[in-house]
Point group: C2
Chain length 151, copies 2
């Protein structure tokens, strides 16, 4: 599909101080992508891309990922409408992580649970016992229905 | 060292809709941690924690990681002084990623290359040829010296 290409992985100086993209994919061929709202800077989700998903993202300007659970390409928003238009992609010093600054189409939510961001809970440490979670997003953007089925 | 504990991993509803921390560590026993500046919201780095590093972070209020390259615990700032005081930790829907909101001590930089953030370059697509990188941070916070040696 794409004619976008990356340079071969270089030495430490080339990777950290150079001006060529030399992404480091892990042993599963994936790189972590942190997705932020281009307007607010809020972190919306963390996804994973393989080389082809990264190329498709650069080519199309819309975010593609590799779904580790489904082992398939995943264009974010293809079914939900929550398509991510990518305004900027950053990489870090050792080029093994990406930051995508995006705007979200559709209902504006990113999380399938209904929240704007997947990071809707914070860790709290109780007086005793296991660590707990508290909601930090007051309300959902939409009601995804009973996603867990009857129990 | 720590008496902090997590609940056992539950079903999908417990993980996504519940109020217990049930972190999902990958096959190397690691979870991704996105580190942001508590004041500006800027993303500073992406690190990885194992269960013990996460517990130490919660217990001490300062960020601990697992160094994949050195295969050892890594208290951020232990040698550089760039210690991260952790103000809040968020987790995502499937609890396989964390966001840490931190303030940075020492010279205020996070990246060993000298920049405030490890994400100091953005991807640019040239007319032809491999993808390139451009600096987005105007200047370094400090000069780390010749970290690459003579070449």
């Amino acid at each position: 599909m794409c004619n976008t290409s990356f340079a071969e992985r270089g030495d430490k100086k080339a990777v950290e101080d150079g001006d060529l993209l030399m992404p480091k994919f892990d042993r599963d061929g994936l790189i972590a992508a942190v997705v932020t709202d281009v307007t607010t800077g809020d972190i919306l989700m963390v996804g994973y891309m393989n080389a082809e998903a990264l190329k498709r993202t650069v080519e199309t300007g819309e975010a593609w990922y590799w779904s580790r659970s489904r082992q398939s390409f995943w264009k974010k928003g293809e079914t939900s409408g929550q398509v991510q238009t990518v305004h900027e992609i950053l990489t870090d010093c050792d080029q093994d992580a990406l930051v995508l600054k995006v705007s979200v189409a559709g209902n504006g939510a990113t999380c399938h649970v209904g929240y704007r961001s997947c990071f809707y809970r914070k860790i709290v440490k109780p007086e005793s016992g296991a660590l707990r979670l508290e909601r930090v997003e007051a309300e959902k953007v939409y009601d995804p229905g009973d996603v867990y089925g009857k129990s």
